[in-house]
Point group: C2
Chain length 202, copies 2
């Protein structure tokens, strides 16, 4: 006979399809859902449907939003001449949480990774270039390349630098260095090297 | 401004309600669901609804099942005179996976834990006693107490032994000892003590 009752097995299989959820965790989640209060399960179902039906890409900055333009692009108090380019929606959320950046964003939804078959056409590069070329009332003057300092992030920054060169923009790259609170003795040589290179007058 | 778009925040909150899922994992899951294929999300929604609507307790053994009686209680080839008592549905599934037990089960849905306010009325003890007292064509002759060897499992086994004593049953307890493949040098003193006590002629 099968191990779990059929509907439970199916739900375990569905939960196992989520990233980072193995079969053990999936069975724990399935039994929780089976026993949970009605209100909780209704809210879970409703919020899954809602996110699928009402969230799409902002046509301006490509972020996920339930409005178009998104609340950042629609915010006239924010500097539309500065665009911070990030690889992922969550990178944007993390930068936004600092509360100190008052420009706009552009979400690439990926980074260049030739070995994984991800080239410029697989990420939102064209949309960035179109946005910069647009003869709109607002002209983008600075593009901040805020991708990570790993192979994919660096490759993407380098590629964008080349592609955006013709448009006479100020192109900047976020700083690499020692994280605040990080111990110098535990840092890897590449980080230490970047921190030394990027030194400023004290 | 809020960190995530509102429908995404709500889904993150809903996922955070699942056991063992923190906010970071919940946001990873929410973004996965946002981007997943339609077929996957439909299957996830359907299987959550299905488990809620079609799974309930078998009125005989209290296990979760989409049938009543469950497939084990309905299986006439299984020995109805032997009942293995477990604390949790997953314990039953684990024992069933051994493929060697051919009797029936009784799922308590919990173990006695006075400090957590779980007494006999909070778990399916009454249903077990009723089942044993029932003057049905089938008489339960052996009850196997298959709760764990921790404080709650032991307390529950002890309590059931007392409650079931008047019914003239054979009452047995599963064996405590060294797990197969376990190293004796790494075992805790209680396990080693139980293994010595439970020794048999070789």
């Amino acid at each position: 006979m099968q191990r779990y009752a059929e509907p439970i097995s199916r739900l375990i299989k569905a939960f196992s399809g989520l990233p980072g959820i193995g079969e053990k965790t999936a069975s724990r989640l399935a039994l929780y859902v089976l026993n949970a209060k009605n209100g909780y399960v209704e809210e879970l179902l409703r919020s899954i449907r809602d996110v699928r039906e009402n969230v799409s890409l902002c046509s301006e900055c490509m972020t996920f939003s339930d409005k178009d333009p998104c609340s950042i692009c629609a915010d006239r108090s924010r500097d539309a001449t500065t665009v911070c380019v990030v690889g992922d929606y969550r990178d944007m959320v993390a930068l936004e949480a600092t509360g100190s950046y008052r420009g706009r964003y552009h979400v690439l939804h990926g980074l260049l990774a030739p070995l994984k078959g991800i080239g410029p056409d697989e990420i939102k590069v064209k949309e960035l270039v179109d946005r910069i070329r647009r003869p709109a009332p607002v002209t983008v003057r600075e593009v901040i390349l805020a991708t990570a300092f790993d192979a994919e992030g660096e490759a993407t920054a380098l590629y964008l630098k080349k592609v955006l060169a013709p448009y006479g923009l100020k192109l900047t790259r976020i700083a690499a260095g020692i994280p605040v609170g990080g111990h110098i003795e535990y840092m890897d040589p590449s980080t230490l090297g970047r921190a030394m290179q990027g030194r400023k007058e004290a």
